[in-house]
Symmetry: D2
Subunit: 452 residues, 4 copies
């Protein structure tokens, strides 16, 4: 039966990449690539390599049984190579896994899964970025309240908000591409990291192995130095955190009392068992949940860097489920936020209404500025402060301003309206939106991480 | 396909308790109990309640499909009650889930799973405690080096070490029993925690519901106040940490250079693909991995206490997989440590050899004490310090002591040997072992948490 | 210079309890109590004990210098006992710290600080509870929107909200009292936990030592078994999380668009450098920050339970700053939330306004119920659903209901108004408030944790 | 009084960089740079800028008082700019902090501290790398047991171990340099991120401001998008984890029963209060403690990415102490590991002895390989397996091998000794050491992060 965690807080594609069977299959890819590399290097017979290739490709892998044997063997590589050997004839058998250690197989298999996982994440992030870019353009001039420390502060546009989300998402794609260049490496060191059983030929095999798998060659084996693993984990955690930030913004915008944006409806989505009138932000909250679940694994990998001697007991093995959970839940966060964003219903009229909530106080700074050139900066500031302090309950700043003789003497009612118009006090908003869009265009122009 | 995380780092029994299907079945138990309670309270017709009971008991629950619908609905309670309603006739349908909110169903179902989970953990811990108690008795007088900051310090016995493990394990059972009394409560508040749709009858239904499920009644609904959830999570984290401490001790004792205890062999267990001579501490390291994975979820639940208003969006939903992971991995840690401990091979001869490593320096304090009554405390201390400082490379403290005229004048060679005998410098070791065993006996005499 | 962390995110009192000097002074309290206990047990001369008592009480402790020596010695107990010995005459010197190990001193000193810290937290929580109780009574009947998943759901009263906060706070006091009974114990085991240098007299000294310090005696020394430390840490983390939940509710209520409650103003508090009209929820956000900082330390203590052999290298030492940080920041969270709550300005008129936001949709369930006895449950439900589906933009449910002939035939306009009145659909609200208040009264009736 | 956390688990230099006063001084640097930039842009009068520069440079900053005001104001920028304004004449006052928001000041000030902190870390890591490089060269051929899962596995050299540490440390320097290029940016957006009060001139001021501070210009303001902060935190966490890995290796090597390397002695360092014979690994364990404390802050920054709207309440403020703690404790870990490594005493004779612990079993694979070409691979393997299985208790593999007629027939005693010589079965060890040294040389050749 499917686990709730995978079905609700991940995506089917990412769940498949990190299934038990996919893990074992990736290990077989390592064994195949190793056999080919050693055959190319003249270390094992070509015929043996060919048998290994064929046996690995065949059906009949019982992942459940092998995982159960893993539990007692302590490593999947032993039951797996035994299974593989059992399908070879006597002569080829001795060349399976030749010169490698369990961890070579398992780590490299994980790296192959990471590559697929990074590809899926990039695709999801690019879809999300596309939605953000569309919103940034479409609502470039749609004025709304900018909010700081949960209070309305100054006007912005919804386009700027979307542009900031866009820039954040774009940086995540760059981050994953960047980390990919550092972590997509083979693991190959043999039992104690010396490649002893390959005599002096180990490093040559390493290069051919990397070539077979289209992975990089690390400086040294990294059995017990897990900084790259931790860096990858952290990068995924940052991506997850970025998703949660945006999803939380959607929750805040979608509150009954704010109502500025809401998730699109779909059959079976987001109803409430007790309250038929509610429209629930299911995608946003699921993105947040998934992000929390992803981030939870990061400290496991950071603290887990304490790996004993040449190969570790405990912290390494804890990586096996921790990294896949990170990928799974980060994918869940990306996907659910993408779904929310691509169907987002934006309500400019509520944005306008909410801007009126403070009856113009948001524009006090703008009014000061308009008066400064006429009355002097200090006098202007003092005057506006006094106006605000004396505002009657419920009175708007606009009417109070127009009724103030000192101001009426220098500013027409029209000029007052202009000074209090949020659309006129947006500073560099437009230029910032352009910047975000340009950077997104640049990202699209660059290459992709290869994916499954 | 089974997930590696569950198969390797948990137990089949705990995995079953927290499967997707078990979760949904527990929700049906809530709906059944609610229907019975409301029928007892005269709120819904008895016939309707009976239909609900029968429909819930029947086959045909497609857990996979319901979990997929959960992903879009945002809650399993909606598709589940729809499924249940679909199996009732028109008249009974309206009484399903009457007066409850999704979270009432889901939280109470989780509590039912927790109860089963706590029962399984208690059983595992008691088996582990039994092994520790046996070791504490059997090796009560087996002298070995006590080690502090990774250095030999003073002699202890292996029985004392086992007694300390035992006391630690006993406290975990007590801890879980204790937390059980606080967290095994129904959730029942309706949409906003007021039980509004039950008029004034809500609290009476709550009592009957608790009675049906044999759970406690909380002071108030706890939809958004998750201190009990966090407390449970923390208690499991502490249990996991306790397992990791002991497992790490086993790793340290089993090092090639220490060799004082090792895990029992079993077919298919703990071999190495490249090094046939190794006997790997598979259970111990798997216990550590599982404990790390368990602990990782605790901060999710602590930070996740920030739940908005009357019912939350994001942090509550993240609990759904986080708590089960905590149970699953804590169970894995308990079970694997139990396996290591019950098959532990103890090597008293290596313990004796290792005690000789410092050629008697461990016993310097004992020698000082023996001399103090004869030479005065200060003189004795200074003399022993000088002896140690002048020890030739490789020379034992015993021979140097006997060769020292000032000492020979007051202590016979036999008396020197007695002063340097680790078995004679054990302080309260025996009394402490007794204490641990007594507390364990007390635990056995007390009751158990009810379990599945 | 004061650290920002302590000044902003803690309280002066808690910072003082955990200062470097207070830590060292608590160690001296251990040495004094040990000397007294050993004198009472006839193990050291009474005169020596008296000298130790006097020397410890005197001035002249240079905490800075001792901490710097600690950095190189690896433990404060060595420089401290050296400092203490330096103030004794030759004869008394040898009885300082007699039979104890560094960790006995340091752990017991920490426990003494914990006791003070728990006392301060309890006091802060009780003040907070008092504010919540006042609000629960005062606003018992003040209707507002209950909100779930960030959407308005059903009416509640602000009194109920405060009562839920109250119950949460009350549970935290109970939690701390409870954990106090388990963790306020001496540490006393000597170098390897056997009390070897006290011969058979160690356990008697332990009892006298505990008596001197008014602490409990543990079953066994707990040098490397840190479950109690982790439990304490987790309990503080839960308290911190509880504070953050309530503080976040205040943030949500205080949003410009919600405006239902706001922190009281004070000179120099909560202004904005750029936006003079803002009233910032400084206390609430500082409470959240402090809570986050507290919770961050919990995993350190949980993962840190992996302590090697009889006494650990690394994870134990990491406790020294981690636990104080937990206390400091939990105190900060409690104190700032207390400040917010005691000055909270509640705005019932905004609560009423906000309840109108959905123009009556929140009361649809209530209307259905009212109609059910007249039209049959099913017909009533269908009718209300249809009404809602056909509501014109901006139309209120009340007017639509009254205009519906089927309803007008059975319900008067007054009866419709009653059915749509939030104050009439509050279920068990009042009874739940009573429960919370009763539990709070019960808490006040029980004893306090002794505090400084 | 100094806090234990800073004195014991950090360095004086890093503590100074992140003191409360240094934080405030860095804010003044922002205000100065902003005034200069705005004067260059013609936005504020040159004379006003000059006054701001001079007033900021003067003495009289009472950091303690300002931090206390920060606690109630909720931000240090308000009391600080008030303090600064108080030192200017009327005319200049209005130009302080012109167009900026509190967070612009605080974030940019933090970035300036990060730059200093990164410089200090780089320096510490380079010193550590130098020690590792020396060890890698010096012990290039010193054979010792490679250990996996806490068991001896195959021979390595101590030089290889040091080379792997070296490579790990080198990658950390690269990692910090790399992250520096992404995070050392100004923050400048004004109250809502639009730079509204600077009209269209905001982006020009941003460029000049960055120029003044020698920082980069970000694409957009990043008030509420904290991915860079989280990335920095994670990078520091990875560095800390790397330190802990190596420090733990030192603990393992220094165990009484292993004794292959130990920390150098120094006056007042690492003694034991109860056990004068012990040589405690104080630096190693302090490095581990510090690393744990550093890593604890990473999740705060990851979860803390959820920052509301345009500027956040709670999670942003929690960064203020969390990042400094990360720097402080990472510095502690780097520094203490550096101290351990630079004084490390290596014991090649214990390494040789320990290699004999398994009486040759470590070399079984090598023997098989030597026999393979003579007897056929399969026969050779079977023969060696049988030899091992039949070894008498305590018998060495060498003598058993020489006594075996089938082997004696093909291999001389000398050849057997060669096959069983650990120094002859080191595979690519030498080449891997060269690689690590080359990469280190490359690092030295590249530039440094500018530092204080």
């Amino acid at each position: 039966v499917s686990e709730p965690a995978s079905v609700i807080f991940s995506t089917p594609a990412m769940t498949a990449v990190f299934s038990g069977e996919a893990w074992l299959r990736a290990m077989l890819r390592f064994e195949v690539a190793l056999a080919r590399a050693e055959s190319r290097a003249g270390i094992i017979p070509r015929a043996a390599a060919e048998q290994i290739v064929q046996a690995s490709a065949a059906d009949g892998l019982d992942a459940d049984a092998l995982l159960r044997e893993t539990a007692s063997a302590g490593t999947p590589a032993i039951p797996l190579t035994k299974w593989l050997s059992g399908r070879l004839d006597e002569g080829a058998r001795r060349y399976v896994h030749f010169g490698a250690t369990s961890q070579d197989t398992i780590d490299t298999a994980s790296v192959l899964q990471w590559r697929d996982g990074l590809g899926l994440l990039e695709r999801g992030l690019l879809e999300l970025a596309a939605s953000c870019a569309t919103l940034a353009e479409r609502y470039r001039f749609t004025v709304m309240a900018g909010r700081t420390v949960m209070q309305q502060a100054l006007p912005i546009t919804f386009g700027l908000k979307a542009a900031r989300w866009l820039a954040l998402v774009v940086r995540q794609v760059e981050r994953l591409r960047d980390v990919g260049t550092r972590v997509l490496l083979i693991q190959f060191g043999g039992a104690a990291g010396t490649l002893a059983s390959l005599g002096g030929g180990g490093l040559r095999v390493a290069e051919l192995l990397a070539d077979e798998l289209n992975l990089g060659v690390p400086d040294l084996p990294w059995h017990a130095e897990r900084d790259r693993v931790a860096e990858l984990a952290a990068a995924l955690g940052v991506v997850a955190g970025a998703m949660a930030k945006v999803a939380n913004d959607l929750l805040l915008l979608g509150q009954t009392e704010v109502g500025e944006a809401s998730e699109g409806a779909a059959p079976g989505k987001g109803g409430s068992s007790a309250m038929p009138h509610k429209r629930n932000p299911v995608d946003a909250w699921t993105a947040i949940s998934a992000a929390r679940l992803a981030i939870a694994q990061v400290p496991t990998l950071l603290n887990g860097m304490v790996q004993e001697n040449e190969r570790a007991a405990g912290n390494w093995q804890a990586e096996w489920p921790a990294l896949p959970d990170l990928f799974r839940h980060t994918a869940g966060a990306v996907s659910r936020l993408g779904s929310a964003m691509s169907t987002l219903e934006v309500h400019p009229e509520r944005m306008r209404e909410n801007l009126q909530q403070t009856r113009g106080l948001l524009m006090a700074e703008s009014l000061s500025t308009a008066l400064a050139s006429l009355l002097g900066r200090e006098a202007a500031h003092a005057l506006v402060q006094r106006l605000i302090a004396n505002l009657a309950d419920g009175e708007a700043l606009a009417s109070a301003t127009k009724a103030e003789p000192q101001i009426a003497a220098v500013l027409s009612a029209d000029a007052v309206d202009r000074a209090l118009d949020p659309a006129g006090y947006l500073g560099s908003t437009n230029a910032l939106i352009d910047r975000a869009l340009r950077r997104y265009q640049g990202l699209l122009a660059a290459g992709f991480i290869p994916s499954p």
